[in-house]
């Protein structure tokens, strides 16, 4: 028998009140914690895939769409650009590397990307097994592809048109798996890489033989990195004015995207804070009411030798216990939410958010929860110091 047991017994005795207070705290803390988790993981994913890419060129359209489709492989591409323009650009002295990308097909929802050896180099990808693609129709796949589509070295498969699993199959053109990459933690993990020529071969055949030979060769976009920061000032303008291509600067577009999301995130955060404050009010009201009911009980304990400070602590513990339960339930709930979100993101975009570790920011969340519980419990509990033992015992 000690104060903590007694606090716990009191909470159990008022199950519904305790449940309501804890539920509100859990929701508030859960939402904030989930926002923190998502924010961190989205930023991680965004930054990791962005590293080393200064500019993306592609067909005219939305610059954000160009970034999303070329860097993150989540949106549809804006269109095609002539390969010759990309080659011309790569010879520009301000350009360090220009990696061409050609998209349009998928296998089991994993995008097939035509490119060259610089793309895996860019992500510092290492081979888990086999070799890098060399000839047309050879592919090297990311580890999630190998796992998700069950591909092994030597397997052959046909891609489907578009980015849905249900797209029309290119049945008579079989890719052969030459190698599998080790996990990189980047977008590469969910891609099937093949030489650009594979994409031309398939689609030339697909469209028209006679036309294909003479048609200008096209790619979807190119990832550019600059030799020096000056290029950032000059190249985009030059390209936008003199060619049919558009440029997009990932850092600017991603900041814009995060800003757009930010409005929603801020609203959600304000809502969560409000829920936490309501939770505090709920703790306050239920302790205030129970203290009114338990006034005689308190006088009784005082007459049995309890000090007022002890009883004050007793009530404080009740608030504290609710806070702690709310915090742990809330952080648990946020991880459940993240897991569900990850399931959806994996199914739709092949992105996963699987970092469930405790965030440093959650220490502040814990402190806030404790503060709310303790303050909400302390205010009504001050009444302990004004109870007139004799009068209270004589009245009832």
């Amino acid at each position: 028998m000690n104060l903590l047991n007694l606090s716990w017994a009191n909470l159990k005795d008022k199950k519904l009140n305790s449940f309501l207070s804890t539920l509100l705290l859990t929701l508030g803390i859960g939402i904030i914690s989930l926002l923190l988790l998502l924010n961190k993981q989205l930023e991680d994913q965004f930054r990791k895939n962005l590293r080393g890419i200064d500019m993306v060129v592609g067909a005219k359209g939305s610059p954000l769409q160009l970034i999303l489709s070329s860097v993150y492989q989540i949106d549809a591409p804006t269109g095609n650009i002539p390969l010759a323009e990309v080659q011309k650009l790569s010879r520009n002295p301000m350009v360090k590397t220009a990696i061409p990308l050609s998209m349009g097909d998928n296998y089991h929802g994993f995008r097939i990307v035509g490119t060259n050896e610089k793309y895996p180099e860019h992500f510092a990808a290492e081979l888990e097994a086999g070799d890098l693609f060399e000839k047309s129709m050879e592919v090297t796949v990311g580890y999630k592809v190998a796992e998700g589509a069950g591909l092994k070295i030597g397997d052959s498969f046909a891609g489907s048109h578009g980015f849905d699993k249900e797209g029309e199959s290119h049945g008579n053109h079989q890719y052969t798996v030459k190698g599998i990459f080790k996990p990189t933690g980047s977008v590469l993990d969910q891609l099937i890489l093949t030489p650009i020529s594979s994409v031309w071969d398939i689609h030339a055949d697909h469209e028209n033989h006679a036309e294909a030979d003479t048609a200008e060769k096209e790619v979807t976009s190119a990832l550019i990195s600059f030799r020096n920061p000056m290029a950032m000032m000059m190249l985009p303008r030059m390209i936008n004015e003199n060619t049919k291509m558009q440029t997009a600067l990932p850092s600017i577009e991603i900041n814009r995207l995060i800003e757009l999301l930010g409005v929603g995130i801020d609203t959600l955060r304000a809502l969560a804070l409000l829920i936490m404050i309501i939770a505090g009010v709920s703790v306050f009201v239920s302790l205030y009411n129970s203290l009114k009911e338990r006034k005689y009980e308190m006088a009784l304990l005082l007459s049995m030798g309890a000090t007022r400070t002890k009883l004050f602590l007793l009530l404080l513990f009740e608030g504290l216990l609710l806070s702690l339960i709310g915090f742990f339930a809330g952080t648990g709930l946020s991880r459940l939410g993240l897991w569900l979100f990850s399931q959806t993101a994996e199914r739709d975009f092949n992105y996963s958010f699987r970092n469930f570790s405790f965030l440093p920011e959650e220490i502040y969340l814990l402190a806030a929860a404790i503060a709310i519980g303790v303050v909400a419990a302390a205010i009504p509990s001050i009444g302990i110091y004004t109870i007139n033992i004799s009068k209270t015992l004589a009245e009832d």
Partner: protein, 208 residues
């Protein structure tokens, strides 16, 4: 041994109570009988040191208690005085057993489960130890509150109208148990009541 001398107490000077001198040796019992409004509860609260008298002195085993500090009073009360109230009140959230043990805890003593079980057996509610107190009948509740008053082996037991809510059978039983238990541990038993049924069961009586 509890001794009270020329005790006086006033609520906002309008109602003034003056109490006769009395003493109750260890192992003995004293009945204080009086009608409503005669200051019975006031006297009991004075003896329990829940109220501070305006004048007069109270001593327990020769130790003067009216001049003690609030903190040492709380400790003294927890260790030396067991109180049985008119209506048995408990900590609702706790079981009968826990309600007994909390008396030990509040007196800073080791909780004595064996004693709780022993007293429950003596007072006849051993089978209710794990129940919540509100599940018990009034007579049972009153016996639990007697056991609680005995948990720390006090030298004074004060009972405020312990029988007024009980039928004759329970009334007789509660008084018999109170007397037997206080005699057994050598405590002074003081019962304050207006219950005329108790008049003949005590030899030492004071009328207010």
């Amino acid at each position: 041994m509890l001794e009270a001398k020329s005790l006086q107490y006033a609520y906002q000077s309008a109602r003034k109570f003056t109490f006769p001198d009395f003493a109750c040796p260890n192992g003995q019992s004293l009945l204080i009988l009086g009608q409503s409004g005669k200051g019975k509860t006031t006297l009991l609260h004075l003896l329990a040191m829940l109220l501070k008298p305006e004048k007069g002195s109270i001593s327990v085993d020769g130790q003067e208690v009216t001049s003690m500090s609030p903190r040492s009073l709380a400790k003294f009360r927890a260790e030396q005085i067991g109180i049985v109230y008119q209506k048995a009140h408990f900590v609702n959230a706790l079981t009968v057993r826990e309600n007994l043990l909390i008396a030990n805890y509040l007196a800073d003593k080791k909780t004595d489960s064996a004693k709780a079980e022993f007293l429950a057996g003596e007072l006849g509610f051993a089978e209710h130890l794990s129940k919540k107190t509100f599940q018990l009948s009034q007579g049972e509740q009153q016996r639990v509150s007697i056991a609680r008053a005995l948990m720390n082996g006090p030298s004074v037991i004060l009972a405020d109208e312990p029988t007024s809510n009980l039928d004759d059978l329970n009334c007789e039983r509660v008084i018999r148990l109170l007397k037997a238990q206080s005699e057994k541990i050598g405590a002074s038993l003081i019962v304050v009541t207006h219950d005329q049924r108790l008049k003949d069961t005590f030899t030492d009586r004071i009328f207010l």
